[in-house]
């Protein structure tokens, strides 16, 4: 369990230092929202209506572009070999890597959400369900994404491939996440059902992703 924490601390530290992807993902998130707003025009009522889906999509895309950074640098500098050789259970390493990614990307995106939500004229009542749905859903995004990162760890330019692989698998989380945010804002009783299904999706990913990532990592060593 010590190694588990050490991997998380290392990955978070790397992500926040120079050249790390944490703040880049947040900037990308902000820029997608700005570009989106520019595209729909300054109609505040329309913006309010589509704020939650737009923020969810933006967070998902920002997660996607950071996935390549989970395993590829480790494979290039050889630390992935060390991780695979020294770990008792590779699935725990994969879980720690996904957790590190969530702390350095998912959590940062959630921290940026209230400001961006203000820009999109979201109401105070809608903000809490949105943040809650992101808190429950983004770990799932990191977990499934880490699996795609593990699959493509040995490929030099995997960014687009990762997006193609991971997008269909993200569909349930996006549906339940954006659904929960919308239902919560409208005071719909389906709010809690959506949140629970979202939590179920994330938990399911927490089981499948480390096992599948561990299997993929073994085949990506030289």
């Amino acid at each position: 369990m010590n190694a588990f924490a050490a991997i998380i601390v290392r990955d978070v530290a790397l992500a926040f230092r120079a050249g790390g992807g944490a703040l880049q993902a947040a900037s990308f998130f902000a820029l997608t929202i700005v570009l989106f707003a520019l595209a729909i025009g300054p109609d505040l009522t329309l913006m309010q209506r589509i704020a939650a889906p737009a923020l969810w999509t933006g967070a998902l895309l920002a997660t996607q572009i950071s996935l390549e950074q989970i395993y590829r640098p480790d494979r290039e500098d050889g630390s992935l070999d060390v991780l695979v050789e020294t770990s008792d259970t590779l699935a725990f390493v994969a879980l720690a890597k996904a957790a590190g990614h969530w702390l350095s990307t998912g959590l940062v995106l959630i921290a940026a959400t209230p400001v961006l939500a203000l820009l999109l004229n979201i109401s105070g009542a809608a903000l809490v369900p949105l943040i809650l749905s992101l808190l429950i859903g983004t770990p799932g995004l990191s977990l499934i994404g880490a699996f795609a990162g593990a699959l493509t760890a040995a490929l030099p330019r995997a960014g687009l491939l990762i997006a193609i692989i991971v997008s269909p698998l993200y569909a349930p989380i996006l549906i339940f996440g954006a659904g929960a945010a919308a239902a919560g804002a409208a005071g719909d009783p389906q709010y809690s059902a959506n949140l629970m299904l979202l939590g179920a999706s994330s938990l399911f990913a927490a089981v499948i992703s480390p096992l599948a990532s561990a299997a993929a990592l073994r085949f990506n060593l030289d």
Partner: protein
């Protein structure tokens, strides 16, 4: 015991590439012939010898092309995942090749289902595309196929590509029911249930006959295409090995006295 000398056929015999080649060569013409005959019969019954729907008129005939394609889309994904699992567990190259070659065929059936669904949607819904739960989940299935094929193409080493693509196919297969469920849920949340459903009352036997013929034809077509594609792939691999061997020889063996100009 004399009986021990009698050779028993097991599944492993079919897994032998040389045997596979021989069996595939013999089965292929039958599968192709069956697919064409049953397909022609099915189309005849479907297009000319079955009643038009009382609500949808002749457009209901799109069903005979559309529904079997949608079934095959799911069937091919399942068989791809099953071959992937077999290839992953027993590390058998034939299973890997079967999984790899099923993907484009399955994607083709999926595309056919989407295309005919869209053509059906135009007169029924008044739009080429409605975000109907079934159409949407089939569309996502199509992208799952594309992701699998893209991964195969991206990894140059065939053995590694087979293992990694197998993992992706299995993970995708596990996720298919969840995606289907989430899209159903999404659809019921976002869309008024005003769509005229294609499947109204229970289906009459005059419609069932062509449907059954068509699904058999599609299945045989899948077998024929898969066998042909697998033989092609194995020949291509053998050719690549021979070319590699050829490319090495002239460099290492230099004939004495040969004059190069």
């Amino acid at each position: 015991m004399a009986n021990n000398a009698v050779k028993r056929t097991s599944l492993y015999d079919f897994a032998n590439p040389v045997r596979f080649e021989a069996i595939a060569g013999r089965v292929f013409p039958f599968a192709l012939f069956g697919a064409l005959t049953l397909g022609a019969l099915g189309l005849y019954f479907g297009l000319f010898n079955s009643p038009a729907d009382y609500q949808q008129g002749d457009t209901v005939r799109i069903m005979y092309v559309h529904v079997p394609a949608a079934w095959m889309a799911l069937f091919c994904y399942s068989s791809m995942a099953a071959s992937s699992a077999a290839g992953f567990i027993w590390k058998h190259p034939l299973a890997d090749v079967a999984a790899k070659e099923t993907a484009p065929i399955g994607a083709g059936f999926t595309f056919l289902a989407l295309l005919t669904g869209s053509l059906w949607g135009k007169p029924m819904w008044g739009a080429w595309w409605a975000w109907d739960a079934r159409l949407t989940s089939v569309l996502i299935l199509f992208f799952l196929y594309l992701g699998y094929m893209a991964l195969w193409r991206a990894i140059p080493d065939k053995t590694r590509a087979a293992r990694l693509a197998a993992i992706l196919a299995i993970v995708g297969f596990v996720n298919v029911p969840i995606i289907k469920f989430s899209v159903d849920w999404w659809n019921s949340l976002h869309q008024p249930a005003s769509i005229i459903r294609a499947d109204g009352p229970t289906i009459h036997s005059s419609m069932l006959t062509p449907l059954f013929l068509m699904i058999s034809a599609y299945m045989l077509a899948y077998i024929a295409m898969l066998l042909a594609a697998m033989r092609n792939e194995m020949m291509a691999r053998r050719l690549a090995r021979l070319e590699d061997a050829d490319a090495v020889r002239p460099a290492s063996v230099v004939e004495p006295g040969a004059v190069r100009t």
